[in-house]
Symmetry: C2
């Protein structure tokens, strides 16, 4: 067979020979690709496409405390404590979107944001991408969660949230990675540019 | 309406009124549920079910170096450096499965394993669960990757791998979380029980 003319029919060492749309809803789509694998063998690849960016934020108040959001996660059928998270339209500024999610879920407004990590959450099956932030200089306000969210809030020292992440009480991957990244900033002193000097002192190990 | 008799029709504050199978392959299944959300409003929930556990391991050699695996990830169409990872049959011992993946991808056998994190990778959409390990006391051998894997290996000091994780050169969520968890062990000295005393000294910050 000749090489396919469409460059999109190659993905690195994979060849795409066809695509079959399987499913679509407002949040995800599923496509099954007919592929040749890197060794040239035929196969299928079922891919889950995400319509939103996954966004999360570790807000830190003047005491060095953060806030976790608790909710029942439908796919796992279990209660999960997490950093404030939500989906953002990829066409919009992600920091604007994460600020909206933080306000909706907790009522908080943060004067400062710094991006701390970019992740791909499940790269063998999906294209889901996440951006995680640190936020500080917080102002409280009324929360207004969506109808799909029945949320609890829990304020605790950053250290206790990190202990939950390494001890198994927090299992959400975005939350664990973000809290460990902030813990590393504490231990190395490598805070984002412009981070509050008073908070550096409060959080010094 | 009366309360549904089947207790499985409740998931926390969500009510499941029906389920429509959408897709199934050897790795994932997709089901669209007809639900009532926590506020009682009708809606749908598209859920991706995973047939395997996601497993990953940070192997550390006697120098305090680890090995990353590079491969082109099909769903993102990008090249990704990651800790050794693979899927494990949930009916089997996950440590046995991760040892098999480590051997397939790198040829390494590890005399000791310790579980370091359990994660849920994308809990708003999928039930995908991950278990991450630290492994040490390594013996080299021949690698034998699957046909779907065209892998590169890269040995580097643990510190450099952690720098890649916080600097954006590693974006795979399992890899970032695992490397940050091991970095925290270095900085706190809170290594797993039985961890090699000589390696503790090599890795002391």
């Amino acid at each position: 067979m000749s090489e396919p003319a469409d460059p999109k029919s190659r993905r690195g060492p994979w060849t795409v020979r066809g695509a079959r749309p399987i499913y679509d809803n407002p949040w995800i789509s599923v496509v099954e690709y007919d592929v040749l694998n890197p060794k040239g063998g035929p196969g299928i690849y079922g891919e889950v496409g995400f319509k939103n960016l996954a966004l999360g934020v570790v807000p830190i108040d003047h005491r060095g405390w953060t806030v976790l959001v608790g909710q029942h996660r439908f796919p796992l059928d279990l209660y999960s404590w997490e950093i404030p998270e939500g989906g953002g339209d990829p066409a919009l500024d992600p920091q604007h979107s994460v600020a909206r999610e933080l306000a909706e879920e907790t009522g908080l407004a943060a004067a400062h944001y710094a991006e701390i990590l970019r992740l791909h959450l499940s790269n063998a099956v999906s294209d889901e991408a996440a951006i995680l932030y640190l936020a500080w200089d917080l102002t409280p306000g009324p929360a207004h969660p969506e109808d799909t969210e029945l949320l609890a809030l829990r304020w605790l020292p950053l250290d206790e949230a990190v202990a939950m992440a390494v001890g198994g009480a927090i299992t959400d991957a975005m939350s664990v990675a973000a809290l460990l990244a902030v813990d590393r900033m504490r231990r190395t002193g490598a805070w984002p540019d412009g981070f509050d000097p008073a908070l550096r002192a409060v959080l010094a190990p």
